[in-house]
């Protein structure tokens, strides 16, 4: 009976993810996956044991009920801009859960006897290690995303050497535990160092690399879930873990590609490692555009593409974007949104923010399509984005951005950049786009600027 339930559960989990391939079916897919999860929990609760277990149902239902209420509460209240933080925390909790389970199993094999083949113990220690990185790493990633001051790029002297020493220490103590003496204190050591390693692993990684980090940590949690599946000899756990691992890995690769950087480069510590950028001499003056000119220019064009960046998310200005889109559409202006893969703080973040503001997803276009459409665009409006529209990525081989796939906004007839100041983007380089002839600047906080623009448009 329980085997049959697990089989159905596995089917629903896979089918649920399969349905995520289109926005129309994705919500249904999520429900299928949740059903699969529900079935597997049910299966684990009713599955019979050879030596008739103790059940302890109170210890199971109490946490389950409490957590479902807490989880629902968080999920209901969380703002869409804070989604990366929430995913990080949840990911960390998943990691913590796996760490605790591996720890208990090691404790049991050490003090209470039971199965203890070498392969089994190695799996446990590996799961303990990866789970710990996922746990502390995600917590630090959360702190970084939530903008705690102390959590900005922290690089200790000899950071890489320390990391290697920590890894070697983990390997050494694990080896001692397996081969020399089964002293449980060694497990405490391995656990402690692994938790520390998680922090050191994420510490040097900067804010704009967060999409990579979150994806990577996600795949770690998947991996440790799969390992616990092996430990508990449960195939649904194994399957679920591998699916998550695959999702995390694919997203990690995609994010790295979108930034044209290797995973190693991201982990080792961001753009700072690519050498100092020579400051270019004066590139001329930037031209500002005033409210009414901007409004008129937009209102009487035939096609406008908006390029939203993290600045838009920070200012929570997505609803204003939608408002402007609607005004323009009354005058038959075609409005689209070009989304760079790393816009926002996690993969696909910008799409969710715009969906929240009721922007139809058919208006969101991806990098390649956008680059074709710019040629036929009258105005490209860049809201709070910078590095993803930097022409140096194509023109200047000495730029740290060189080679990164970017949105070629300058191919449209004109561009307007909404920005707070002339400060450089995350990569720390100036953007020559601002100085181009067909570019105008519209200074101010994204929300205020769009508000001004919207008010002006309404007078037309």
């Amino acid at each position: 009976m329980d085997k049959l339930i697990f089989l159905f559960a596995a089917f629903f989990l896979v089918w649920g993810l399969r349905l995520q391939s289109s926005p129309e079916s994705a919500a249904r897919g999520n429900k299928y996956a949740a059903l699969g999860m529900f079935l597997s929990i049910f299966g684990a609760i009713i599955m019979p044991f050879e030596n008739s277990g103790f059940n302890n149902y109170l210890w199971i239902f109490l946490p389950l009920t409490a957590s479902s209420i807490i989880g629902y509460g968080i999920a209901k209240k969380i703002k869409m801009t804070s989604m990366p933080q929430m995913v990080s925390i949840f990911n960390g909790l998943g990691g913590l859960s796996a760490v605790l389970l591996s720890f208990i199993e090691l404790y049991k094999t050490s003090f209470l006897g039971g199965e203890s083949s070498l392969a089994y113990q190695m799996t446990l220690v590996l799961s303990l290690f990866i789970g710990s990185i996922a746990f502390t790493g995600s917590m630090l990633a959360f702190a970084k995303l939530d903008g705690y001051k102390w959590s900005e790029k922290l690089t200790l002297p000899y950071q890489h050497i320390i990391n290697i020493v920590l890894l070697v220490a983990i390997l050494y103590f694990s080896y001692q535990y397996f081969e020399v003496n089964n002293d449980f204190n060694l497990i405490y050591l391995v656990l402690g160092i692994s938790l520390l390693y998680g922090i050191f692993f994420v510490a040097p990684i900067g804010g704009a690399d967060m999409p990579v980090v979150i994806s990577l940590l996600n795949s770690f949690t998947g991996l440790t879930a799969a390992l616990t599946g092996i430990i508990f000899d449960n195939k649904v756990m194994l399957l679920g873990g591998i699916l998550v691992g695959a999702a995390g890995t694919i997203l990690t690769i995609l994010m790295c590609k979108a930034m044209n950087r290797s995973l190693l480069n991201v982990i080792v510590g961001g753009f700072s490692s690519s050498g100092k950028q020579t400051v270019k001499e004066d590139q001329g003056d930037v031209k500002e555009i005033n409210d009414s000119d901007f409004a008129v220019q937009l209102f009487y064009s035939s096609k406008v593409i908006i390029i939203p960046g993290y600045g838009l998310a920070v200012a929570q200005a997505q609803k204003l974007c939608k408002e402007i889109q609607e005004i323009l559409e009354t005058n038959d202006v075609e409005v689209k949104y070009a989304i760079h893969p790393v816009a926002g703080r996690m993969p696909g973040h910008m799409n969710v923010l715009l969906a929240e503001a009721d922007v139809d997803y058919s208006k969101l276009i991806e990098l390649e399509q956008a680059n074709e459409e710019f040629k036929s665009t009258d105005v490209a409006v860049i809201v709070g984005a910078n590095d993803v529209v930097n022409p140096d990525a194509i023109d200047d081989s000495s730029s740290p951005l060189f080679g990164m796939p970017i949105l070629k906004v300058w191919e449209s007839k004109s561009t307007v950049v909404l920005k707070r100041s002339m400060s450089a983007g995350y990569a720390g380089v100036q953007n020559p786009l601002f100085f181009r002839d067909n570019n105008k600047m519209y200074f101010g906080d994204a929300k205020d600027s769009l508000q001004r623009l919207s008010t002006e448009l309404k007078t037309l």
Binding site: L13, V14, G16, L17, R18, Q20, S22, E24, A26, A27, N30, A33, M37, I45, F49, G53, F54, W59, I60, P63, L64, A66, S67, I70, G71, Y72, A75, K76, M83, F90, L93, G94, L96, S97, A98, L100, L101, I104, Y107, I214, T221, G222, F232, V236, M237, L238, G241, L243, V244, A246, A247, G248, T249, I250, P347, G348, N351, A355, D358, Y361
Partner: protein
Amino acid sequence: MESIIDFLITNEILIYLLLFTILLGFEVISKVPSILHTPLMSGANAISGIVILGAIILIRNTSPDNYIVLTLASIALSVGSINVFGGFFVTNRMLSMFNKKNKK
């Protein structure tokens, strides 16, 4: 070396399963369009909470007077299920935003 080959032979089915699951995972996930990557990630996150099955199995097999194991395992169960429930609810909330238009 011999022990490794032994291990592979005795666990033949499991290794096939592992291999095909990995392929299946990559195949299914790579079809997800980039506009759905955030819900994909939070949904996948919820699925990674499947570790709580281990916690449930563990609790059910632990003697009722072994409070250390029971406490640790129920903490594992609690934090894991926050991940599961929260993950599915929030994914659902996000995805229903993508579909608002169709409902109207």
